[in-house]
């Protein structure tokens, strides 16, 4: 009798298991077969608020409008944090599951998932007649394919507070053009009892920006940076790392805010509009927000980053398409995802984005006539500079996180010298090579073949 019971329980367990397997398999095949762009449930991991304040509200509004126009499409927007943008996706992607649409920063953070087989080329789903209007697509090309959709242009202008300049006896209409001018202005501002330059670097992003804005200036091209990443050039060469001394000098001379090492990067971005520092560099979105507080062009000035280096990139600007959206490999609705991303580039949505954030959409169809504010016009001109490079895009995400961010922290906290920072970079480059042989191979291939 007991044996019969055991057999019955085992039989029932097997039957339930088989039924569950069959149901799952059937539902999967049904889902795969039904990639209807107008009938899908999508999860979108979105990031943009830190670059473009107002972006989170904008995406929610556009999703609601899209769902209204496509009643059978449901889009679940999950906003992402800056600190974990790369790590959260990398972690979830290793299980071959996660969102249908993900957001990453341009180039390496976007191409690395592509090389790992976690995303599909967006150019396979969106016609060239559409993508030709998108700006900055070159940042996300690999193997002749486009892997992501740019959303907005992100320029980092240098900004100064005109009232503070006046107080320090400086010409408020003129921002520093060279590093020598910048240091001279900083000296006068400090003498006037003001904090010359503000940023936050508890999380390392302040230092990473310093690398991207100042560090690139001794290079002639991005190719030189790529060569250093794969060991074909020595990163310890002062050409690459001389900027650490410039950062250390700012700290030593007391030109940085005293809490630079203990406040976060987003807190640091707020210092300028809080009138706590006289100079800074901020995103286009933050510059727009600051203009509202400081009284527009009367209260603040914007301009290019002061020239520090002697390379060809010294006078380049820093526009990047910053964050972009791509479709994941495991999405069961790539067509639906692509259709929604194309919607985000429709004329009205582009206008809505600019109205909500003050940041320019990465699309040639965005009418420049909408930009009427004198400061914003200046920013748009800068964003469309002939040469624009954001070097951080070309640093492997692991090296960016473990070396680029941490090395700057050593300097701003005063706990390490420029030599220590360089040593850290070299150690992390070597670790990346040994821990990610596949990524290293793909990167090297990309460097040589594009």
């Amino acid at each position: 009798m007991a044996r019969k019971h055991v057999l019955a329980v085992l039989g029932a367990t097997l039957a339930v298991g088989a039924a569950m397997f069959a149901t799952t398999a059937a539902s999967q095949s049904t889902q795969r077969a039904a990639d209807d762009p107008n009938n899908a449930s999508l999860t979108y991991w979105y990031w943009g608020e830190d670059d473009a304040p107002g972006a989170n509200a904008w995406i929610k509004k556009e999703v609601a409008a899209y769902e209204k126009a496509h009643p059978k499409v449901k889009i679940n927007v999950v906003t992402q944090s800056t600190d974990t943008l790369i790590s959260a996706f990398t972690t979830v992607a290793q299980t071959n599951s996660g969102p249908d649409i993900a957001t990453q920063w341009a180039t390496l953070p976007t191409l690395t998932p592509a090389w790992n087989g976690w995303s599909v080329p967006i150019s396979d789903y969106v016609p060239a007649s559409e993508t030709k209007n998108w700006i900055g697509t070159a940042e996300n090309m690999s193997g002749g394919k486009l892997w992501a959709m740019p959303q907005y242009l992100l320029g980092i202008p240098f900004v100064w507070n005109k009232a503070m300049f006046k107080k320090a006896g400086l010409d408020p209409s003129k921002g520093p053009k060279t590093w020598a001018e910048f240091l001279a202005d900083a000296k006068k501002l400090k003498a006037a009892g003001l904090t010359p330059f503000g940023m936050g670097n508890k999380d390392g992003y302040g230092g990473a920006w310093f690398f991207s804005l100042i560090g690139k200036q001794n290079l002639d091209s991005v190719a030189q940076l790529k060569a250093a990443m794969i060991g074909k050039a020595k990163f310890s060469d002062p050409k690459y790392t001389g900027f650490f001394q410039a950062l250390a000098d700012l700290k030593k001379k007391g030109y940085l805010n005293s809490d630079v090492a203990s406040i976060s990067f987003p807190q640091g971005l707020q210092l300028f509009q809080q009138k706590k520092v006289a100079m800074s560099w901020v995103t286009d979105g933050d510059a727009a927000a600051a203009a509202k507080v400081l009284g527009g062009a009367k209260g603040m000035g914007v301009g290019p980053i002061p020239v520090w280096g002697k390379g060809k990139l010294a006078t380049s600007y820093d526009t990047t398409q910053s964050s972009d959206a791509f479709i994941t490999k495991w999405s069961k609705h790539p067509k639906a995802a692509a259709q929604f991303l194309v919607f985000l580039h429709s004329p009205q949505v582009l206008k809505d984005f600019y109205a909500a954030t003050g940041v320019f959409p990465a699309d040639k169809r965005f009418p420049a006539s909408l930009v009427t504010d004198p400061l914003a016009k200046e920013q748009l001109t800068l964003d469309h500079s002939a040469v624009s490079v954001w070097p951080e895009n070309y640093v492997p995400p692991q090296v960016d996180g473990n070396a680029d961010l941490a090395a700057g922290e050593l300097i701003t906290s005063g706990s390490g010298s420029p030599a220590d920072a360089v040593k850290l970079w070299e150690s992390e480059l070597s670790k990346w090579k040994s821990q990610h042989p596949d990524e290293f191979k793909n990167y090297s291939k990309w460097v040589t073949s594009g």
């Binding site: 990398t90 630079v260 906290s413 821990q435």
Partner: protein
């Protein structure tokens, strides 16, 4: 033929003996799936580099790489430094428990106040303290107003102080747990011993440290082991939220090192450190079991 010749009673007994194992089997299977499988996977993964999809066999290279890595050594050293928080936690906890044990007025309220931080989420506390401890945060502003500028330090931005700040936060939160455990232990002691000591003329200090504390010694030992394990492998939240391991890696700990490695896709490296941490925790858990057994035996 052999089965047929076996007496039916013996067969029945054997079946009865086997039944408990059948009942245990599902739980055993679940445990093996939930704990055994991941454990084996982590150990296996520690010998590979690259992604899960394209693992590359590297033997002991992950372990060698980790031991050669200055960042790992700093993380390990920080875990050791945080161990210094354990005697502080226990000493303060015991002192407060002894005072409260004197049935002072408002004892329950004091107990609740001391215990409150323990029930607050570590993440929320970490965020609050990350604002309080900034260079121009609430603590330093307060100190400067009291003309104690010398004490106003960059608690999070100074590489020497960041780990001290983490330790301070751990003590602040875990203190309540120690107080509650010690108070419970003291309240469970037979009052006759203390009464007898008082009649014999023992002063307050003698009563506490010669009569009461020796009686709760097994609890002190047990709590010591528990807090050591906590400090070794449960401090990720505090470090991540308060300092993210910085400046540089000056306040990193082993858990953060594992997380950082795994989240950048260096699975093999993360696995090798996880195996090392598991080994250390296993030793401490063994010690904890030994202490507990001793405590039970002496009870």
């Amino acid at each position: 033929m052999a089965v047929a010749s076996e007496p039916p009673r013996r067969r029945q007994r054997r079946r009865r003996e086997l039944w408990p194992y059948v009942y245990v089997l599902p739980a055993f299977g679940a445990m093996a799936f939930a704990f055994g499988f991941p454990l084996v996977q982590v150990v296996r993964e520690s010998f590979y580099a690259g992604s899960f999809a394209a693992p590359v066999w590297v033997g002991l290279d992950n372990y060698k790489g980790v031991l050669d890595d200055a960042e790992f050594r700093t993380s390990l050293l920080n875990n050791v430094k945080l161990l210094l928080a354990v005697p502080v936690m226990l000493g303060l906890g015991l002192a407060i428990a002894l005072v409260l044990n004197d049935r002072i007025r408002g004892m329950r309220q004091y107990q609740a106040i001391v215990f409150l931080p323990y029930v607050l989420p570590a993440t929320a506390i970490g965020i609050a303290f990350s604002f309080l401890l900034q260079q121009n945060g609430v603590l330093n502003t307060f100190l400067r107003k009291l003309h104690l500028s010398f004490f106003a330090q960059d608690w999070l931005g100074n590489s020497h102080l960041a780990i001290v700040s983490v330790g301070g936060l751990v003590v602040w939160q875990q203190l309540g747990f120690g107080v509650v455990v010690f108070t419970a232990a003291l309240l469970s002691l037979p009052p006759e011993t203390a009464e007898a000591a008082r009649i014999d003329g023992a002063g307050w200090w003698s009563l506490q440290f010669r009569v009461l504390v020796p009686q709760i010694r097994p609890i002190v030992e047990l709590l010591t082991v528990i807090q050591v394990i906590t400090v070794l492998s449960w401090v990720f939240n505090y470090v991540y939220v308060l300092t993210s391991g910085g400046p540089g890696y000056s306040s990193s700990v082993m858990e953060l090192y594992i997380w950082r490695s795994f989240s950048s896709g260096a699975n093999g490296t993360a696995a090798s450190v996880a195996v090392m941490l598991l080994g250390m925790a296993a030793v401490l858990i063994g010690l904890s079991l030994w202490v507990r057994r001793r405590a039970e035996a002496s009870a």
